[in-house]
């Protein structure tokens, strides 16, 4: 069975738009959370978000957008993009350069793309408003492809001339974990030699604030502590957007072409809570099963896992569920645990791949990022080794967890090379 190597990464995130910045902020625990102009209105009790810097994508007309000079997006591509489509287009360019892939290596039958995003509520809303106001024939011709779920797949597959598999995954906050898992399957099953996996979210008023309806968002006004997973006083998540791209490759092929290998993805597992549409299982049963299955798939023992990048979004219920899942799974073993959502905020469909990429950076550069902003640890977490500071010792085996609505749970395992 082919081994799966990670050979390229691309980042547009609240803690940096290129790998060196992300690496630095991750290690030093510098967060990317700030007051968000989109939330400034008196109608919103939520004020903070993990903000993407150096991009201005607030208009519903992509030709109004501004973005860093390093990228040049032709109008015919730009017009089909949602805000997170632009983030992903740029992250994809980084990942291709980082992996050292030629145009031919990107565009061939053996190279595919899996994406995860929730679509763009903002763009969709604007199109429907235009349709209702000006008539059906005045809908923007690109209104569908730049807004509906799948927008990332359509746009990136065409813009980068992808010829292999292309599909999108939708399981809310576990989406990009599923995309990674099934991409791993594609390569280990021998169907594809190389997969781009992409997660993206707009991270704007329309994609984040509706979560206030279920009281899932933090109303804290202090960016320094608003996102504080595992803290006993956590009061909800801080939303964020951006895009992360990861290149997965058949390891033999990667070695043959002399690629730099960040880490190996050795397996994944998933299981569902079968419990509630929006509330995670009180004992974290689904996530516990996902972690066990991931270990079985990777043929590793759970006690050999050294680090876990937790899903822990900083919501009272979500973190507690994961604490209990970790306790029942790692019964006595003490892997280091942190939630990097303290730094970035919660990226929803983007979250899983963003955190998998952070985990991969830790494997490559030998560190485990701390779980920031914990002032007093949730007493329920006593017994777990939640690390508050970054540890300069790389894991040999690391796990990254994600949970989504409906009780979808994904656990991914990566190995140091």
């Amino acid at each position: 069975m082919p081994q799966v190597a990670i050979t390229g990464l691309g980042f547009v995130t609240s803690i940096g738009n290129e790998q060196v910045t992300v690496l630095d902020n991750l290690r030093e625990l510098r967060h990317g959370i700030d007051y968000f102009p989109d939330f400034a209105g008196a109608d919103s009790p939520v004020k903070l978000a993990g903000t993407v810097k150096d991009f201005s994508v607030n208009s519903c007309d992509p030709e109004d957008w501004t973005y860093p000079d390093a990228y040049r997006v032709r109008r015919e591509v730009l017009r089909g993009l949602a805000p997170h489509g632009l983030f992903a287009y740029c992250a994809m360019q980084q990942a291709i350069e980082d992996a050292g892939l030629s145009e031919e290596e990107v565009s061939n039958l053996d190279t595919g793309i899996f994406t995860a995003s929730a679509g763009s509520a903002k763009m969709l809303h604007s199109h429907l408003e235009r349709m209702n106001r000006h008539g059906v024939n005045r809908c923007s011709p690109l209104g569908i492809v730049n807004s509906i779920v799948g927008t990332l797949t359509f746009n990136l597959a065409s813009a980068y001339h992808i010829k292999g598999a292309s599909a999108g995954f939708v399981s809310a906050c576990a989406s990009s974990g599923h995309a990674l898992g099934y991409a791993w399957d594609e390569i280990t099953l021998g169907r594809q030699k190389r997969m781009f996996v992409v997660g993206g979210e707009d991270g704007n008023r329309e994609s984040i604030l509706p979560f206030a309806g279920m009281r899932a968002l933090s109303q804290c006004k202090d960016p320094e502590i608003a996102s504080r997973p595992f803290d006993k006083d956590r009061d909800g998540f801080v939303g964020t957007g951006g895009s992360v791209v990861m290149v997965l490759e058949d390891e033999e092929l990667a070695r043959k072409r002399g690629a730099t290998i960040y880490a190996r993805m050795v397996g994944w597992g998933q299981a569902s809570d079968g419990y509630n549409v929006a509330i995670s299982h009180p004992d974290g049963d689904g996530l516990a099963n996902a972690m066990r299955r991931a270990a079985a798939c990777a043929k590793v023992s759970l006690k050999d896992i050294n680090y876990i990048n937790a899903h822990a979004p900083s919501t009272p219920i979500g973190d507690l569920s994961e604490i209990r899942a970790l306790k029942q799974t790692f019964n006595g073993d003490r892997p280091a645990i942190s939630s990097t959502k303290a730094l970035t905020g919660h990226g929803l469909s983007l979250a899983s791949i963003m955190e998998a990429a952070f985990t991969v950076l830790g494997l490559r550069h030998n560190f485990m990022p701390g779980s920031a902003h914990i002032m007093s640890l949730d007493p329920e977490a006593t017994g777990l080794r939640i690390i508050k500071e970054t540890e300069d010792k790389g894991p040999a085996l690391a796990m990254s967890n994600s949970s989504g609505f409906g009780g979808a749970n994904v656990s991914l395992i990566f190995q140091h090379i």
């Binding site: 109008r75 015919e76 017009r79 024939n137 011709p141 690109l142």
Partner: protein, 293 residues
Amino acid sequence: MADSTVKNLTPEEEELIKDSLKRCSPESIEAALSYRRTGNTDLIPVVILGIIERFLEPDIRPRLKNGADELRIFEDLGVDSLTLVEVIMLVEETLDISIDNNELRDLRTVGDVKIFIDCKLKGLPLPEKALHIPIEEIYQDLPHGPPFLFLQDATLRQSEARGTYRIAGDEFFLEGHFKGNPVFPASIMLEALGQLAVLYLVKTKSESLPKQVDKDKVFFSSCDGIRCTRFCKPGDKLTLSIKPKRIRHPLASFEGHIMAGTEKVAFAEEISLIFDFCGEAESVAQEGPGSAG
């Protein structure tokens, strides 16, 4: 039609038009406002060109500067069908007209778009639809065949015929024209224009062509004022066009142009053919010698 659009624009309407056209040239914005105020249809081409230009990639825009009417929207300007919808939608918005999807199908050149919108606004009947003739049909309709057929597809209207020929490189005469340096002969370019003119005569029904022209009774008669301005080599795609100047049985004369992409290749002031209708006496062959086409 034009009269119904003449009115004083409210400041809001004016702002809306300006906003819709915000990425168009200042001249085209001014022309659109002026048209909406006065109904002066002379301003339409400026608006249309401004709107088309706005949707082009910056590196393509200079192509619109001269001879824009001949440019093919898809092939020469890199515009796809979705962008054409964007163009039409912005035209609808700013000129206050509505256009049916089915009406868009036959718009192939910038000139087609301009004429089409001009007719809509003036309430004139739309120009006749172009007749597209694929290679299989050309093969049936012309007396010519490989290796001496120099048309790969054609579009016919009363006013003109257009065709294309891509120089493959394996044409038999390129081996000697020239040795080790294949250049498409000017005489063959003239032949290609002639073949397009034969196709026009065989496929067109009009006042001057009331009966079916017999494809086996069309012959070359004369040509005049031929100017060639560019070498053509394997890989070049020639765009041929002929316009009828005078057709009176048994003589027909045409003006001809050849382009390669946006570059001019050849011009023929006059190409004359002699023809006869089906079932007529064998007068033509005696009158006008010369090779077919």
